[in-house]
């Protein structure tokens, strides 16, 4: 997913074997995980600061960390993820479904049964048809999540195009509380998709339009309240939390609620945390404050943890000058991660592979494009691209804005004629994800959904994933059929055997050669708490959501 100061979630999906292991480990009838880790005090309201408002407070539309950190507390789906730190948080468990699905031998039919007595936060009973309506709503609104796997449901792709007739592959029986999902092709990653907020269940009556101003009721432990778009919102305890969900993985959350406020200035956020007038900041502190914060609060209220993330400048291969591989390679030679790291406060680990460490398929190798401005200039000259106009896109978050100014200056130094275009963070990814925008290059990033290579390569670089709007593949390499075929072949593998992992490693190398990205780093994320928070027991660091607010607690 994408996020504030760039935290975009990867939602690629694969590996029947991984899923099988996950499903088997969960058992056939499971009330799901216990309440969240951490043994701190229950209750109290936690004050959270964000730099930009979530792209949407609508589970069908949001695709950023800022959005999912909140939405994951409100809109569980048939399946959900454990509220536990580390890799345990990537485990798929039953959510609104009373057990993991029964999957047919050919992997194409998935059967679920809803738990009894489920209610939305407004007291309305949850019906099986609400799930079907939620998926149809996602497709009707041309959500960025549409192409993840929901078009692999029978009738899904057709409904996405025509918006008529519903998704025929979902059969919901309200009386029996059963849901049958039929897939076009078996996909072992489907369980992961059903655990994402995109598959969060909302009432069937929810209009198929952006509900950010007035988010619909959900079934999670918390509910939205007092939403002031672009300013603030609250999460309060769900007054109608279903009895049948108590003790399940969804029943997680120590705090009574969360007040989220937007403050564009990272420096002021730090001051508020330091003064204990706020409890947590979603984004990393500004670069020049990190050393002082680490020195004073390290281990007590502050720590940094690695994330499986990739930070890069996308290079649009559909438009000049980056339609020329020499120019793209020149851009790669021009990136200096040491320079960018000073803007980011030293939180970047240098990276030169698409896959970050921790994701199967990652292999440490010599940098294909070591920093060399002279070489970059020579390549630009060789390509005849000197003086070509380039617009560098970025959003208005402080570190991103400064990073793209660095990038524009770098491109100018190697002979291009670059200028900067800054877009509000709330609309940034939607803007560059619109193929018509023709964004030539700009800042981008991706945080994993779960540790699988397709989560990065299939979602972000597969030429077949290039669509009109809602793109995550900003390289717009739709014409690279050969790469598409190779990625599809890897995606189709049911297990991540060593041979398959090698396939992904080879794909990573191939993509680097084609230089669709100018990749520079993997980022550490900070946890910075006020004195009120129980830092030792309730850090909330999560494999998927980056921070799981359900795990936060006060002293």
């Amino acid at each position: 997913m994408s996020g504030g100061s760039g935290m975009r979630v990867g939602a690629g999906f694969l590996a029947v074997a991984v899923i099988s292991v996950v499903l088997a480990a969960c058992g056939s009838s499971d009330k799901g995980g216990s309440t969240s880790g951490g043994t701190g005090k229950a209750g109290g309201t936690i004050n959270i600061l964000g730099t930009s408002y979530p792209d949407f407070l609508d589970p069908a539309l949001s695709y950023t960390v800022d959005g999912w950190e909140a939405l994951s507390q409100v809109y569980p789906g048939l399946l959900t993820y454990e509220h536990k730190p580390g890799l345990a948080g990537a485990k798929v468990v039953p959510g609104l479904a009373e057990a993991l699905p029964t999957v047919s031998k050919d992997g194409k039919t998935w059967d679920f049964t809803l738990r009894k007595g489920l209610k939305f936060s407004d007291g309305t009973p949850v019906k099986a048809s609400d799930f079907k309506a939620s998926i149809e709503r996602l497709l009707k609104m041309d959500s960025q999540g549409s192409g993840l796997g929901f078009t692999n449901i029978v009738g899904g792709a057709e409904y996405l195009k025509s918006k008529k007739g519903g998704v025929t592959g979902i059969t919901a029986d309200d009386a029996a509380g059963t849901i049958k999902i039929e897939l076009v092709k078996p996909r072992g990653d489907f369980a992961y998709q059903l655990g994402l907020p995109f598959a969060g269940v909302v009432p069937a009556s929810t209009p198929a339009e952006n509900q950010t101003k007035n988010p619909p009721p959900g079934t999670g432990r918390y509910a939205f309240k007092d939403v002031v778009v672009n300013r603030s919102y609250k999460l309060v305890a769900n007054p109608n939390f279903s009895e049948s969900l108590k003790g399940t993985a969804i029943d997680a959350g120590k705090a009574a609620g969360f007040n989220v406020t937007i403050d564009k200035q990272l420096a002021t956020q730090v001051t508020k945390i330091t003064n204990n007038t706020a409890d947590f900041m979603i984004d990393n502190p500004p670069a020049d404050r990190v050393a002082a914060i680490k020195a004073k609060y390290g281990g007590k209220r502050f720590e940094q943890f690695p994330t499986n993330s990739s930070f890069y400048f996308f290079l649009n291969s559909e438009v000049p000058p980056f339609d020329d591989v020499l120019v793209r390679q020149a851009a790669n030679y021009a990136v200096d991660v040491n320079a960018i790291n000073r803007i980011q406060g030293g939180v970047l680990s240098p990276a030169n592979t698409i896959l970050p460490p921790g994701v199967p398929g990652f292999k440490q190798a010599p940098d294909m494009y070591p920093f060399d401005l002279a070489k970059a200039k020579a390549l630009i000259k060789q390509a005849g691209a000197e003086g070509k106009a380039v617009t560098v896109w970025g959003n208005d978050e402080e570190q991103t804005k400064n990073t793209v100014q660095y990038w524009a200056d770098t491109l100018n130094q190697i002979g291009l004629k670059a200028k900067v275009k800054i877009v509000p963070a709330e609309t940034y990814f939607t803007t560059i994800g619109d193929r018509k925008t023709g964004a030539q290059t700009g800042w981008a990033n991706w945080f994993q959904d779960y540790p699988h290579p397709a989560d990065f390569i299939d979602v972000l670089v597969n030429p077949e994933k290039v669509v009109a709007t809602g793109n995550n593949n900003y390289s717009y390499n739709a014409s690279d059929k050969e790469l598409a075929a190779r990625i599809d072949a890897a995606v189709a593998q049911p297990e991540l055997t060593p041979a398959v992992i090698d396939q992904w490693t080879a794909l990573d190398v191939e993509i680097q050669k084609k230089a669709y990205w100018a990749i520079y780093g993997n980022r550490k994320q900070s946890t910075f708490f006020s004195d009120r928070m129980d830092f030792q027991n309730c850090k909330g660091e999560h494999a998927l959501w980056t921070h799981d607010w359900a795990e936060f607690c006060l002293k």
């Binding site: 200035q265 990272l266 420096a267 500004p286 670069a287 020049d288 404050r289 990190v290 050393a291 002082a292 200096d336 040491n338 320079a339 960018i340 790291n341 000073r342 803007i343 980011q344 406060g345 030293g346 208005d396 402080e398 804005k401 400064n402 100014q405 660095y406 524009a408 200056d409 770098t410 100018n412 200028k419 900067v420 275009k421 800054i422 877009v423 509000p424």
Partner: protein, 345 residues
């Protein structure tokens, strides 16, 4: 009948001034402008601030010369470079993101910003941009106010009603919010008016926005004065002579508005510079990486505790410039307004 500008001066006034200055003999009558000039020359404070303002403008115009001398450009990032200062090698920007502060060195005299750019160089180039927007938008405001005010005041009737209504509508918006909304929208998409296209990052975008939104603020007083001047005898005489409305407006009435325009002009420039700074601070004015005093302050505010020079230096520049214009504008008004100056012994 001649149509010299109507003033409050008379032959006696000239004599009184002569008496004040201690002259023994009666002097020839001085033109109002010479009298105003004399009053202005006596106002040392106003002159001081005029000189200060001219100095600020001159420094900003000399930005390329300074940049050459300092060996830096306004947009050149230097994140990993070092500088020898006081015999010690220092990072321009430390690995944890702290930029170097002001010091006695040719480069980075006023320190560096978060991207390792020279603050002094950006300050001067930023001044060029801010002053350009301030001046150009003031010219736009004045021209627009004069044309619309003249038409409204002279023609009256439905023309006056229409123009006054437009003034009222624009005036009813909170001007800064209006400017922010326009600035944000046009910064993204640019301005497309028929065959005229202005890119979103052009200085003309904030210029046009600021110049336009303040037209009613000058247009109304101009309209009021024109309504009054229109009833004077010299205008009647011009009408009787068969002069057309345009000629009357521009050759009879307009000269009488000169002192108003001059005084309001300086205040408008100061106001527009401040507005540009506010818009750029909020990201709706001059777009990065182009420097302006406003966006320099915006960058610096985020580092107030670790690198205060980034915000303080452009802030001082704005204060000095706006203060100079305001004080000089006050002095100019005093010089042009004899009612405040003429004393009877």
């Amino acid at each position: 009948m001649s149509s010299q500008p109507e003033t409050d001066f008379s032959f006696d006034a000239a004599g009184l001034v002569a008496a004040e200055s201690g002259a023994d003999q009666r002097i020839e009558g001085l033109s109002p402008w010479r009298l105003a000039g004399r009053r202005l020359r006596r106002n040392r404070v106003a002159l001081f601030f005029l000189v200060l303002f001219v100095l600020v403008v001159a420094l900003c115009l000399a930005a390329p010369l300074y940049a050459d001398w300092a060996g830096n450009t306004p947009d050149r990032n230097n994140l990993t470079g070092t500088l020898v200062r006081g015999g010690k090698k220092q990072f321009i920007v430390t690995p944890d993101g702290k930029p170097i502060g002001p010091g006695f060195s040719k480069k980075y005299l006023l320190g560096a910003d978060q991207n390792g750019r020279d603050v002094a160089v950006r300050l001067l180039y930023g001044g060029r941009n801010s002053l350009f927007v301030g001046f150009a938008s003031a010219v736009l405001t004045i021209l627009g106010a004069l044309v619309l005010g003249l038409c409204a005041g002279y023609f009256r009737g439905w023309i006056d009603r229409v123009i006054s209504s437009v003034f009222d509508i624009v005036w009813s918006f909170p001007v800064l919010l209006f400017a922010i909304a326009l600035g944000t929208a046009l910064a993204l998409g640019g301005l497309h008016l028929g065959f005229i296209t202005i890119q979103g990052d052009s200085l003309w975008i904030p210029t046009i926005i600021i110049g336009t939104i303040f037209i009613p603020y000058l247009g109304r007083p101009v309209r009021g004065q024109v309504l009054s001047l229109r009833e004077k005898e010299f205008v009647e005489a011009a009408v009787a002579q068969g002069m057309g409305p345009l000629r009357i407006m521009f050759s009879e009435i307009l000269p009488n508005l000169t002192s108003t325009v001059l005084v309001f002009g300086t205040l408008t420039i100061a106001n527009n510079i401040l507005t540009e700074a506010a818009l750029s601070f909020l990201g709706a004015g001059i777009q990065p990486p182009a420097p302006s005093w406003g966006n320099l302050i915006s960058d610096g505010v985020a580092r107030l505790t670790t690198a205060p020079h980034q915000a303080i230096v452009p802030g001082i520049a704005i204060v000095l410039t706006v203060l100079s214009l305001n004080v000089f504008g006050d002095g100019l008004r005093d010089a042009l307004d004899p009612r405040a100056k003429v004393r009877l012994r």
